[in-house]
């Protein structure tokens, strides 16, 4: 089954990491990712730009309203996501724990994927 691991964290805090700390975290995450990739279980991975770069399209009106900023004002923001292959929830949680050890703080939301199109954009 495919799972999305949605990464939430306090953006202001992650933005206060020193470059060295950020690099170190990314390096540790890369080890976990490489491991998954070798097993053929790693799908698309994305780190999102800060929510200050975000725009929201509210569709309830006609025409839809374009708003600056993220969809919801929350304490923790969606900063990135992984798509992974896992046997079951336990297995997916195990991957999330591995990622969490590499990057402590914040939360991961583990969501089973319903429809998945691998897409066609080059990275």
């Amino acid at each position: 089954m495919l799972y999305a691991i949605l990464c939430y964290h306090d953006e202001a805090m992650v933005g206060s990491w020193s470059k060295d700390h950020d690099d170190a975290v990314m390096e540790k995450l890369a080890v976990v990712q490489d491991n998954l990739a070798k097993q053929g279980r790693l799908g698309p991975v994305a780190r999102l730009l800060p929510t200050t770069a975000a725009t929201t399209l509210r569709k309830e009106g006609d025409p839809p309203l374009v708003l600056d900023g993220p969809f919801a004002e929350t304490k923790e923001q969606l900063l990135g996501f992984y798509i992974i292959e896992a046997k079951d929830l336990d297995d997916a949680l195990e991957v999330a724990r591995d990622l969490g050890r590499a990057n402590p703080g914040g939360s991961y939301e583990i969501r089973p994927v319903g429809v998945f199109h691998p897409g066609s954009v080059a990275s």
Partner: protein, 427 residues
């Protein structure tokens, strides 16, 4: 071992990111900058003691505000010989109260607290250097030592500068009630200008001071991001952050190994920071949708046109010239015209550009770049003797050794060309 290190890094980042909001809220309570800072300091000390053991609080900022406020009140009572507050262990059990405060933080105070804190630092009575120093100390939380190093002055001198600034601010009587719409937008403009100053301090560094001053650029970007998070629909603040990101993205390519200036045309574009450019481009894209142009947006748009060109020859100079025209109307200044002249020289040739800047000679007589640009234009027109004279004037006005070295390189090239092609020109 690495766990302890990452714990401390986490706490550090939490304290840094909570600082503007926490000090801003404490300032509202105590209405005294020193008291607010001291209270925040106390709260940080408490955090360093208890967080590694008890784990992080649910809302670090709310925790710091509450513990800071209590310690401040405690201090004030002690000073006034009044009854002391209950012992520490009572107030460190903060869970319920923390939730209550966190709820209140989501309210409208939050934005105005941070804006007030930033605004206090850029009070019009403070000279620019004091504004920057105060903001870095109070809002960013850099140590006096770090700031002194960035400004290439002694710690004692910087300490004095900050103290003087604080005294001026205390006398200035900034109102503590929530500002009205007009006042809020005035504060926003002043704060944006101050952030731009902080950035420029880092950006204009050269030679030996690059390493020391580069963090000022990062700090300015962090402050601009903070401001945009507070005012997410302000196109000029998007423009400001975009401009800073697009400029800073070139940091790795702006100087050669010896600290010499590398001009935009000669920079290795592979060394530009791509994620920073992507963010800067996204922001100016968003900003322009608002159709409320302003100087930061126009400058960001110019920077974006440079960043978008994979090779200097692909630069859209016609568009850049138009944008400088817009900037001239929004913010008329001879320096902007000088910059437009560079674009004009690319589109219409050096003579048109020279015609544009000659009338500025008097007003820009003391400006290094004026003579540098004028020299380069004269050189393109084959007027070598006058070019040499302009470059000499530029060297005399150079503010840094890198600037002087850069012009000297022009002169060396000029001399070499003259010797080599002297016969050809003479015919």
């Amino acid at each position: 071992m690495s766990n302890i290190a990452s714990d401390l890094a986490w706490i550090d980042a939490a304290l840094i990111s909570a600082r503007p909001q926490a000090v801003g809220a404490l300032l509202r309570y105590f209405r005294d900058l020193d008291l607010a800072e001291e209270a925040f300091q106390n709260a940080c000390l408490r955090a360093l003691k208890t967080w590694p053991q008890n784990g992080p609080p649910r809302d670090a900022t709310a925790w710091l505000i509450m513990v800071g406020r209590n310690s401040g009140i405690d201090d004030a009572r002690r000073r006034n010989k009044l009854a002391e507050l209950p012992p520490e262990d009572v107030i460190s059990d903060t869970d319920d109260a923390e939730g209550e405060i966190a709820e209140r933080l989501d309210g409208s105070h939050y934005r105005d607290d941070i804006l007030r804190l930033l605004f206090i630092c850029c009070h019009p009575q403070l000279p620019a250097t004091q504004q920057i120093a105060l903001a870095l100390r109070i809002v960013s939380g850099l140590t006096v030592k770090q700031i002194a190093r960035a400004f290439l002055v002694t710690e004692a001198a910087m300490e004095q500068r900050i103290t003087r600034a604080k005294t001026a601010v205390a006398k200035a009587d900034v109102p503590f009630e929530a500002p009205g719409a007009v006042e809020r937008s005035e504060r926003l403009a002043a704060v944006a200008a101050m952030i731009y100053l902080v950035f420029n301090e880092g950006y204009s560094a050269s030679g030996d001071s690059i390493k020391e001053r580069a963090p000022l650029c990062d700090e300015a970007i962090r402050l601009a991001r903070l401001l945009l998070r507070l005012f997410p629909a302000e196109p000029e603040i998007m423009g400001l952050l975009s401009l800073l990101l697009l400029q800073h993205a070139r940091a790795g390519a702006r100087y050669d190994a010896d600290g010499g200036i590398v001009l935009l045309d000669d920079q290795d574009r592979g060394r530009w920071n791509k994620p920073m450019i992507a963010e800067g481009m996204a922001l100016i894209d968003k900003a322009m949708r608002h159709r409320r142009s302003g100087p930061y947006q126009v400058q960001a748009a110019i920077a974006a046109l440079h960043s978008g060109a994979t090779h200097p020859s692909e630069t859209d100079w016609t568009q850049i010239e138009l944008l400088y025209r817009t900037l001239e109307m929004q913010q008329p200044s001879p320096v902007v015209t000088l910059n437009r002249a560079v674009a004009v020289s690319k589109v219409q040739g050096p003579q048109a550009a020279l015609d544009l800047i000659e009338p500025l000679a008097k007003r820009l007589a003391g400006y290094f770049n004026f003579h540098g640009v004028r020299g380069a234009l004269l050189l393109q027109l084959g007027r070598a003797t006058e070019a040499r004279c302009a470059f000499d004037q530029a060297i005399a006005l150079a503010g840094t050794t890198a600037e002087a070295a850069h012009i000297r390189m022009h002169i060396d090239r000029l001399m070499a060309d003259c010797t080599a092609s002297g016969t050809a020109h003479a015919k």
